[in-house]
Amino acid sequence: MSWEAVIGLEIHVQLATQSKIFSGASTAYGAAPNAQACNIDLGMPGVLPVLNERAVELAIRFGLAIDAQINLYSIFDRKNYFYADLPKGYQISQFETPIVGAGQVTVTPENGKPRRVGITRAHLEEDAGKSVHDLYPGQTAVDLNRTGTPLLEVVSEPDMRTAQEASAYFRQIHTLARYIGICDGNLAEGSMRCDANVSVRPTGQEAFGERTEIKNINSFRFVEQAIEHEIARQIDVLEAGGRIHRETRLYDPDKDETRSMRSKELSNDYRYFPDPDLMPLTISEALVERIRSELPELPDARCARYGDQLGLSASDATAISSDIDRADFFDAAVSAGANAKQCANWIMGELSAYLNKQAMPLSASPVTPSLLAQLIARVEDSTLSSKTAKTLFDALWEEGPSADVDGLISSLNLAQMSDDGALTQIIDDLIAANPKQFEELRGGKDKMLGFFVGQVMKATQGKANPQQVNEIIRAKL
């Protein structure tokens, strides 16, 4: 029997606000435990929440970016459950009336076909604290710094059919969130986490199979691995005549397996009801329109522009546009005069390699868009060969943003030799020194041409224009 997977994701996006969603405490990452938990975050007796308007604006921005309905009236509810890192004994969330209604994105997995993924809703809520179980033997430590960090929970429709599509969707939401500046996108710090709902059914069957939920996945790679694994596990169970139980599972990337966390058959009763400490959230059309007018060019539009107007290949256009920093760098270099195709090659090639090697973000690159544009211009006007261009890139990387491109070309003596006379002299000397080889070339052994060009390049430390060298040698035949 052949099987089909059905996958939906819930992605928690930490909104990039300075302060928390219901208090004035800082949201900065990495402070000493509990240093950023104020009386409100601690759930002290008598404290009250006050909604951070910035979080609302960021949620609206996301809604507009996925072409969703913005609900002008929404309600904050209390989701009641006890846990040590949930100080109030309830989480303030949005249940029946979220701020963002139905929207959609289109995702294209690598080597796959584009798929439209519906987004059911996105709602605002506060994050819980962190329970640390491995710090003190036999005890659990609670850090409430994260408590009250604003989250936008983005709930997809069960529209994905492969782990690759799910991963591509997670990437797409990540790209989008970074584009519109609502999240720093730092997966390692937990700025984006997802839960995956996975079920399988016989191919062709309409009804969904029983699903499991894999909790708290925080990397693109893990989301793919975890779902792959879970699909295989479910198929194994069903093919062995077993039954899938509704449950929450945890993915262990070290062992590449999911394991059961808790059974959901007796589903938790969270006793949602409207939080009486907060008025219903009402948003004006004017605010929505203002935010719409401030939206930047979105990834899809940018990708299309790179293809249509700048002539990039589809894969280059996707690669460049998929990251806002990369796309901004590219745009800046192109507007500084760089050839688009060359620019894409440099960014995806040399620049990415250097950054990766030093685990450096693009924003810290010593080679600025303007320097890259100048370098490309010198390749285009044949001042630099592809080899000397790389030497120059090295030098720019060392010198940093204030480097003088033409100054370096001259001080490092990188300009191509285009003096016919000097080249002819070198070539004549080489022919004299290698008569046998020259005879072979004359006799039609074209391979020998490479030998001579190579010798010339060696003699000129790579500065000779190979095309020119070719022409001079051919003329000698």
Binding site: N39, L42, G43, M44, P45, G46, V47, L48, P49, V50, L51, R78, N80, F82, Y83, A84, P87, K88, G89, Y90, T140, V142, D269, R271, F273, P276, D277, L278, M279
Partner: protein, 486 residues
């Protein structure tokens, strides 16, 4: 200083230099030491801090500060968080809780130069109508120490009635200011929901809780209201108001009414009964003063108590989830697991009435019961609010009894929660509608004081205050004191 002085009288004496604030506070502390042992109206006395603040107030006065509230003593109900001071909400759960911050009401009163001399007893988490659910023991009614003072602001009411303080803060969720005011023969004002910030006031039922003044008369209530009230950005449900009458009442006193009022008598509140003679006499007095009395109907009155207990318990059940033994408050000894920590800390820390309401509230919010209880109660709450709107189309304000009975004996109703809940019969409808209401003394029954209630449209506290002040200018019920001939 004469015992049973009002805040305004003390203010005048301080201004004239008859005595200093320090002397005034010393006098109060001595009274409390002598008399509170058998009343138990205070949980915490802050003598030292109060004397320091009084000295600071005297210094300010010497340098020309003439604010009428400067250096006046008062007490806070122990539901308001006071920075560095024990704040218990009448519960074992918070019997060790020293608040790390001031409630907005607390900082407002301090900014006005008023001196808090202590924190008053109350029903546990404000749940009760007799002050008998307090972990710190029941409070006696100064008029008859076998009887209860009412609740939940029973400590504040008893302290004012006994002349231990002239003013105290209270909170009212379903009648917790007005009912004890009635049972103790004092003046108690529950302002419009949103008039006074709830920030730092330990929550019982967030959509109903409202702080207010408990005083000897309407003049003092207006004075304290002006200090307590105000928009607070820390409370999303606090109202942005700019009512000029509020400041004017505080500085100039309550002016005479411009013209007679039309006063509605909700027929559902005036059922014949053995304790109705006091309010009947008050009706005659009001007519004598030129006001028109008119019968009105609030048809959903009967549903108010059940609706109130569904909604208030629902909100309370989650407001009290934070008391889990993890970060503050009572924590059980050597917990074996997180679950054990929760179960034993809460089992040990909460009293019976609090547990009853947490269970009730948890039940009404549960899947399968939510629609039948919580949602239905919300719908009826709207109908009750509409009842009042309809009535106010034809009258300026409403007159009603505050409580169905005078103060009852201790232990009389403790085994019958439903009978206890009936104490709130006349106070919960206006709470559900968020309306302001004042209770003032209007006579006696069984030798115990009886109060009457004046209920006004939202943000029109000026009406009941003005009418109460006028009534008090022409009657002396508010001037009677325990221990004197009636």
């Amino acid at each position: 200083m004469k015992k049973f002085s009002t805040l305004r009288t003390m203010s005048a004496s301080l201004a004239q230099g008859d005595f200093s604030s320090v002397e005034l506070i010393q006098d109060h502390i001595a009274h409390i030491h002598n008399e509170d042992a058998h009343l138990n109206s205070f949980i915490t006395l802050s003598a030292e801090a109060a004397l320091e603040q009084a000295a600071a107030a005297d210094k300010l006065r010497a340098s020309g500060d003439t604010r009428p509230t400067l250096g006046l003593p008062f007490a806070h109900k122990d539901i308001f968080c006071t920075n560095g001071v024990l704040t218990t909400a009448g519960s074992k759960m918070l019997s060790n809780f020293v608040a790390p911050y001031d409630a907005t009401v607390v900082s407002n009163m301090a900014a006005a130069g008023m001196v808090c001399i202590g924190k008053t007893n109350m029903d546990e988490f404000a749940m009760g109508s007799s002050n008998e659910t307090s972990y710190f023991g029941s409070v006696s009614n100064p008029w008859d120490t076998q009887r209860v003072p009412g609740g939940s602001s029973g400590g504040s009411a008893a302290a004012v009635a006994a002349g231990l303080v002239a003013g105290a803060t209270g909170t009212d969720t379903g009648g917790s200011i007005r009912q004890p005011a009635s049972l103790c023969g004092i003046t108690g004002l529950k302002p419009t929901y949103g008039r006074i910030s709830r920030y730092g006031m330990i929550a019982f039922a967030s959509s109903l809780d409202q702080a207010g003044p408990m005083t000897r008369d309407a003049e003092d209530a207006a004075l304290m209201l002006s200090v307590m009230a105000g928009f607070d950005p820390k409370d999303s449900t606090s109202a942005q108001r700019d009512d000029a009458w509020l400041g004017k009442m505080a500085t100039d006193g309550i002016a005479e009414l411009d013209q007679p009022l039309t006063i509605g008598l909700p027929e559902e509140y005036f059922q014949a009964g053995e304790h109705m003679h006091a309010i009947e006499a008050a009706k005659a007095e009001l007519e004598k003063l030129g006001h028109t009395l008119k019968s009105v109907s609030l048809p959903h009155t009967q549903a108010a108590v059940p609706v109130y207990y569904v909604l208030a318990s629902a909100e309370a059940s989650t407001n009290l989830s934070r008391y889990d033994g993890v970060r503050f408050g009572h924590r059980c000894d050597s917990p074996q697991s997180l679950q054990d920590l929760y179960e034993r800390s809460r089992e040990e820390g909460f009293g019976q009435e609090v547990k009853r309401r947490i269970l009730t509230g948890t039940y009404t919010l549960s899947v399968g019961y939510f629609d039948a209880y919580y949602l239905k109660a919300q719908k009826i709450r709207r109908l009750i609010a509409e009842d009042f709107n309809n009535a106010f189309a034809g009258v300026d304000l409403l007159l009603a009894p505050t409580a169905p009975t005078p103060a009852f004996n201790k232990n009389q109703l403790t085994d019958d929660p439903v009978a206890m809940y009936q104490q709130d019969l006349y106070t919960v409808p206006s709470s559900l509608a968020g309306l302001p209401a004042i209770s003032i003394p209007c006579g006696f029954s069984q030798g115990m004081p009886m109060g009457m209630q004046l209920i006004a449209p939202a943000f029109r506290e000026d009406l009941p205050l003005a009418l109460a002040a006028q009534f008090q200018r022409h009657t002396d019920w508010h001037l009677r004191h325990p221990g004197e001939e009636l």
